[in-house]
């Protein structure tokens, strides 16, 4: 009897000991920083997976507009509070240059993020800095041209357009054509559109005019005209001919936009389109996901998405660039005590959870990996197979023609000055050339205050990346 009870006891003790041995490994707590709300949902999904690996994830969410300020304050203050940071790529250059975030190439072996899978232009311009990878992609924000499909295929409209402009009515591929289409479709209440009488004023085009990101809508045009932020010697080019012409083109388009377009932020712009007030507009990719939701949209199965308009080249091809304001990338601060675990988290978010993130209604993320763009099926919940296929092809194409936010040190300041110039000129407060000249003068001052030699070196490295994708010719 003694023997019989002793064995189970010994077995239990041995098992307990073994269990304790495995559980005895340290539990690591990592703090993840990002903008509050739905964009952190993928981190919530990661929590149980991380816990299984002994990683406890804590999330710090901040308001959307404060992402830069708060993060920069913490970096400058050297608090070391965060292990994984999610922010907008416009600031990546600054954070990398000042050593706030660390290069990641050496950590790839922990969990390979498969960077070849990332759309090349997006990867090279928003994840790489100085030849090294400093960030992993998380959200592939890019601007696209949206339009109302049925008015373009309506026989009556087609005939009228041909009669007026002597060319076929088609989804515009150049800014000239967009201006014609916008003018054509701007109608007053009571007039007819595709056979139906309008019960409210209708407009041909809309863009984002509110302070903050308005510069990016100018950027689409500026980029397609071959513009670049500076030349090789750090002389601002925003007020060169391309810049002024871009503003003038935008001013012309504004005539066919709703009267409050200068106040349009994300919500107003999206609603103008989804509520059927505009024929065309330019906005981020995620609007497409909402277009077929009858709770939000009046243009279900009527939402078309297309290539960003561009400029026709002498050889007949069309050169276009699509701005990518906001967007999100993941980086690892240099102050983290657990770089390996932090990298695993970042890589999981960018790769493994990516497809779920960009196809979910609970997040705000957009695709950025070729594997995601090839996965038509996953996007069929938002529309028909044909619609999903078209969406994916268009967005991938636009991403490959990315006109990135300037992301050298001081980017927040440069972009603010540019934003002021663009919105001032568009609101009529100043003339295009004058506004851009003021911004260019500010840009010079900013460059001077930030060690001009280093700025030049960094910017030229950026131009090399642009050259690789055909966006810059020496």
């Amino acid at each position: 009897m003694y023997g019989r009870t002793r064995f189970p006891l010994l077995l239990a003790a041995a098992l307990l000991f073994a269990a304790k041995g495995t559980v005895a490994e340290e539990k690591v707590t990592l703090t993840v920083y990002g903008d509050q709300g739905q964009n952190l949902t993928p981190v919530e999904w990661l929590k149980p997976l991380a816990a299984a690996k002994g990683i406890n994830l804590e999330i710090v969410g901040v308001p959307f507009t404060a992402v830069y300020e708060k993060l920069k304050t913490e970096f400058v203050g050297g608090t070391g509070a965060y292990d994984v940071v999610i922010f907008y790529p416009a600031y990546m250059g600054e954070f990398a240059e000042f050593g706030y975030i660390q290069p990641l190439d050496g950590l790839f072996s922990i969990h390979n993020p498969k960077m070849d899978d990332v759309v090349p232009a997006y990867r090279d311009l928003y994840d790489m800095y100085n030849g090294k990878t400093y960030a992993l992609p998380y959200d592939g924000d890019i601007l696209n041209l949206y339009y109302m499909q049925h008015i373009f295929s309506d026989a009556g409209e087609k005939a009228a357009f041909k009669a007026k402009f002597g060319q076929e009515l088609a989804v515009p591929k150049t800014w000239d054509d967009l201006a014609k289409v916008a003018q054509f479709f701007t109608r007053k209440k009571g007039e007819k559109l595709a056979g139906k009488t309008l019960d409210q004023d209708f407009y041909g085009f809309a863009f984002l005019g509110a302070r903050g990101f308005a510069y990016a809508w100018w950027g689409n045009i500026f980029g397609s005209l071959g513009g670049a932020y500076f030349d090789k010697n750090m002389k601002p080019q925003i007020n060169a001919a391309a810049g002024v012409e871009a503003l003038n083109i935008q001013k012309k388009l504004k005539e066919f936009c709703p009267p409050d377009v200068m106040n349009y932020g994300y919500t107003e712009l999206m609603n103008a389109y989804l509520q059927g007030r505009v024929a065309t507009m330019i906005q981020w990719s995620d609007v497409w996901k909402k277009a077929n939701d009858p709770k939000l949209s009046k243009i279900v199965h009527d939402a078309g998405i297309s290539q960003m308009p561009g400029v026709r080249q002498p050889d007949g091809s069309i050169y276009f660039r699509a701005s990518a304001p906001v967007g999100r990338v993941i980086a690892i601060p240099t102050t983290t005590k657990h770089p390996k675990e932090a990298f695993w988290v970042a890589s999981m978010l960018s790769l493994d959870l990516g497809i779920r993130s960009v196809t979910s209604n609970d997040t705000g993320e957009d695709p950025y990996r070729i594997s995601q763009f090839d996965n038509t099926q996953a996007f069929e919940k938002f529309g028909s197979t044909a619609e999903a296929k078209n969406y994916l092809a268009v967005v991938k194409d636009n991403l490959n023609h990315i006109f990135p936010d300037i992301n050298i040190p001081g980017s927040a300041e440069y972009l603010d000055a540019l934003d002021v110039a663009v919105t001032s000129a568009l609101s009529g407060a100043s003339d295009s050339a004058a506004a851009l000249n003021t911004a260019a003068a500010s840009w010079d001052k900013i460059t001077q205050s930030l060690d001009p030699a280093r700025q030049k070196k960094i910017y030229n490295a950026m131009l090399e990346a642009w050259k690789k994708h055909g966006f810059w010719k020496d």
Binding site: E94, A214, P259, D260, P409, G410, E413, A425
Partner: protein, 302 residues
């Protein structure tokens, strides 16, 4: 009744008591408030930016020079002044009217006063977003209601002048109740006997208002207007959300500019400079205002 000795003793103990009671408050003020402000003064003389790990450089008045040469600063200064010059009189007059209306006790007056104060309680961030919806050109109720009475819809936030009007509208909505409540507290401190005496003297309602109530209310009124002047220069969150300073820089006030320079550009030196300039401006305005009120007050027994 007391001899000279007793008076002097009382005065001495009075001084001691005064200083003693002032001490704890002063200590707290100096530690937590004055310190950072001194630091601010200091910074305005340095070319110092946290946007780059370049050591700050002492630069005398260079910051001030570039600030005054910058059109954006003057534009912001003008915007802040416009809001102050138009907003304060409107808010004060409106608040006075409402306070007088509410001064009488009637059934439910407590609830009404509490209801009136709600706009002040709404988080400025939320207020900014709500007004953005209300002023929306197409989907906002304001334009809809205006449309019902025949006024065509206005692009409130997209045109420079209207955007400024919108800021004034929102600020008036949010802060008039604040002034109202302080005035109510001031009115409540006026004893009933004063009014009774006035009516016995045969004074009409308007005479009572101007000759009796207003002078008694003056100190509290001055106090709260001065506060409003200061606060209106500092209003930030709702403006930032409603217009972001736009369209262009049409509604970019000093506070918005200070924030951008201090936090987007991390130009600590320059934002300190703007803060010092703002401090000087408000000091001048406040002193002028106090002088104005004091002059009018001459002759009224304290």
């Amino acid at each position: 009744m007391a001899g000279t000795e007793r008076v002097m003793a009382i005065e001495a103990s009075q001084k001691r008591f005064a200083r003693l009671t002032a001490l704890p408050g002063m200590v707290v003020l100096v530690l937590l408030v004055v310190g950072p402000l001194v630091y601010m003064f200091f910074n305005s003389f340095f070319l110092k930016t946290l946007a780059t790990p370049v050591p700050p450089r002492f630069a005398w008045f260079e910051n001030y020079g570039s600030l005054f040469a910058d059109h954006r600063f003057w534009n912001a200064f003008l915007n802040s002044m416009i809001i102050m010059v138009i907003g304060i009189p409107i808010q004060s007059a409106l608040a006075l009217v409402i306070a007088l209306l509410l001064n009488k006790k009637f059934p439910g007056s407590r609830i009404v006063v509490a209801l009136f104060l709600i706009p002040v309680m709404i988080t400025p961030v939320v207020a900014g977003f709500e007004w953005k919806i209300i002023l929306d050109d197409r989907f906002g109720p304001l334009n809809y209601v205006l449309g019902l009475v025949g006024v065509s819809p206005q692009a409130w936030l997209a045109q420079p002048a209207l955007a400024m009007a919108s800021i004034l509208l929102m600020d008036t909505w949010q802060w008039t109740p604040f002034v109202t409540l302080v005035l109510l507290a001031g009115l409540a401190a006026i004893p009933k006997q004063v009014y009774e005496a006035a009516s016995v003297d045969g004074s009409s309602a308007s005479e009572t208002l101007w000759r009796v109530t207003m002078p008694l209310l003056r100190p509290v009124f001055t106090l709260v207007i001065l506060l409003r002047i200061i606060f209106i220069f500092k209003v930030f969150d709702p403006v930032q959300i409603l217009t972001g300073g736009g369209p262009g820089v049409a509604t970019e006030t000093l506070s918005v500019l200070t924030y951008i320079i201090g936090f987007k550009n991390f130009n600590v030196g320059m934002s300190a400079t703007i803060a010092v300039v703002q401090l000087i401006i408000i000091t001048i305005i406040a002193k002028l205002f106090i002088r104005l009120v004091m002059n009018r007050r001459e002759g009224t027994p304290s």
